[in-house]
């Protein structure tokens, strides 16, 4: 089993930037050498286009590419032809909005999302609602960052609360598995189970961008209709995303992007489309990226969920406790101050200091965090804040990183105190 030290050794960015304290993995994770090597392998060994070459090198590229689909499918418990490669989570969600949402949503129907969404699972539905005259409903959260449809004691969905929001008119429920700001893990499986009881025809669209790298995902167990995530947040290359969709839905939907690679026969009169999953992959994809994504999956599997979940829970607990001990009431953590039921994305404000100044002064100590609204403006508005500073943890972080953050925040106070 890999230790934290072994893991850190796998990430070249950490060697090439001595002293770097990387606490921005919720924005993008660092990449292990195994992934980088695979990108290079494609470009150096078999950099041909896929699916149409009649020569060996193209066949090799196609095999590697399609093998990635198998690896990803098995990783999330899906069938191979239910895996669509996209550019990122956002594109996957837009694919569902355009290819299915446009058809389903009409005057008199409604779409439901939550106030804790990243803009990528909020704006497409909002705009589609404007376009189609659909009611756009948003589930609120408590001040602890928990969806109001959940029982505060059990943390499980309350059917009576859900019945107030979801009805037979609700065509789509779009919600995130894990919040990129609050770190909150939503009980997706239980929510889907209940909403399908209220309305068996409801389509559930899950943003898995902040879940896929932190906890084991099985889409069939979750029962969702769609699940979208990004390679770059799970140690894979940027520019690649995955959309899982239930076969019967993907088969029935119209394509999202038209063009090369996704067609069967094209004539002046008509066009027929390829079968799944190729129907949704128009144009030359990010071949190297897709191929290297499987190395990211294998890397996660080699590290193991046992390590990941234990390590991240301990680190999150340590971070929350250290911040609380040192800064107490002067630090406002957006969301839960308890490590349970959340991941290590910790957004905060330090009383009296602007989030951008905090991030900038931390950068002077080589601590990389993010400041702003983290693509979640409705969520920040909900808390009455324009911006927060966010530190987010991953498998390669260690307690020393948290200690550096604390020392860096002390420096912020020292520098800016009036």
């Amino acid at each position: 089993m890999k230790t934290t030290h072994d893991i850190r050794t796998d990430f070249p960015v950490l060697h090439n930037n001595k002293g770097l304290v990387y606490l921005d993995s919720a924005a993008t994770s660092l990449k292990p050498k195994q992934v980088i090597d695979k990108v290079v392998e494609y470009y150096e060994q078999y950099s041909a286009n896929i699916h149409r070459g009649l020569y060996k090198m193209s066949e090799r590229a196609t095999e590697e590419y399609e093998d990635s689909r198998k690896v990803v499918a098995s990783f999330i418990g899906a069938d191979v032809d239910e895996i669509i490669f996209t550019r990122n989570t956002t594109e996957g969600l837009n694919l569902v909005a355009y290819a299915l949402g446009r058809e389903l949503l009409a005057l008199g129907s409604e779409v439901v999302t939550t106030v804790m969404e990243h803009h990528s699972n909020f704006v497409p539905w909002q705009q589609l609602s404007f376009e189609n005259g659909t009611d756009f409903k948003v589930i609120d959260i408590t001040s602890e960052g928990i969806l109001t449809i959940l029982d505060p004691h059990t943390g499980m969905p309350d059917i009576h609360e859900l019945e107030k929001i979801i009805s037979k008119r609700t065509k789509i429920l779009a919600l995130t598995y894990v919040s990129n700001v609050l770190g909150t893990i939503n009980p997706i499986k239980e929510i889907i189970n209940i909403v399908k009881k209220i309305n068996p025809k409801i389509i559930t669209v899950v943003d898995g961008a902040q879940a896929i790298q932190h906890l084991p995902v099985n889409v069939k167990e979750l029962g969702c209709d769609f699940f979208s995530f990004s390679s770059h947040k799970m140690f894979g290359p940027t520019g690649v995303g995955v959309l899982y969709g239930k076969k019967e839905l993907l088969s029935a939907m119209y394509p999202f992007l038209y063009g090369g690679e996704m067609v069967d026969v094209v004539s002046i009169e008509s066009t027929t489309f390829k079968a799944l999953p190729h129907k949704y992959e128009a144009g030359t994809p990010h071949i190297a990226g897709v191929i290297a994504l499987k190395e990211a999956v294998k890397y996660i599997q080699a590290v193991g969920w046992e390590y990941i979940e234990k390590h991240e829970a301990e680190l999150t607990e340590y971070a929350l406790r250290s911040l609380d001990e040192r800064f107490g009431k002067n630090m406002r953590i957006i969301g839960s101050r308890a490590a349970k039921g959340r991941v290590g994305a910790i957004a905060f404000t330090l009383e009296g200091f602007h989030p951008h100044d905090v991030a900038q002064i931390l950068d002077e100590s080589r601590i990389a965090v993010r400041a702003g609204n983290h693509c979640a403006m409705p969520l920040h508005t909900r808390f009455g804040l324009p911006a927060t500073t966010r530190a987010s943890l991953s498998i390669y972080n260690e307690k020393a990183d948290i200690d550096a953050l604390i020392a860096g925040l002390e420096k912020v106070k020292k520098t800016l105190s009036r």
């Binding site: 602007h354 951008h356 702003g372 804040l385 324009p386 911006a387 520098t415």
Partner: protein, 120 residues
């Protein structure tokens, strides 16, 4: 890269000049940067095209506060025509620090306010 929190910036941040409201003003304007929540209100009192008094209020990061303080200090006694010529480079020179593209917006919010006041 050296710190952008130089003594002169911190001095203006800690002891902002012309911070508050004027008893009387000829023009008033509010500018904001929704991405970081900075919100600045400027009030000006001018006579015959010369700035007699100017004040700013509102919240923001150290850079936007220091920039507003410096710019208002500079503006007092100057003619409107003279102030209209102030551009981005002059403000950055006044601050005397190198800013990343993301933070330049913070520094220039007060310039936007001043230009809007003068356009009134």
């Amino acid at each position: 890269m050296s710190s952008i929190y130089q003594d002169i910036i911190l001095d203006h941040y800690r002891n902002p000049r012309n911070n508050g409201h004027l008893a009387r003003h000829t023009h008033k304007v509010t500018v904001n940067n929704p991405l970081c929540g900075d919100l600045l209100t400027f009030e000006i009192y001018d006579e015959n095209g010369i700035v007699k008094e100017i004040a700013f209020s509102g919240s923001g990061c150290a850079i936007s506060q220091a920039s507003a303080s410096m710019l208002t200090e500079y503006a007092v006694g100057k003619s409107n025509d003279e102030l209209k010529k102030i551009d981005k480079d002059i403000v950055l020179e006044m601050l005397g620090i190198e800013l990343s593209p993301n933070r330049i917006k913070c520094a220039l919010l007060s310039l936007e306010g001043l230009h809007k006041l003068l356009a009134k």
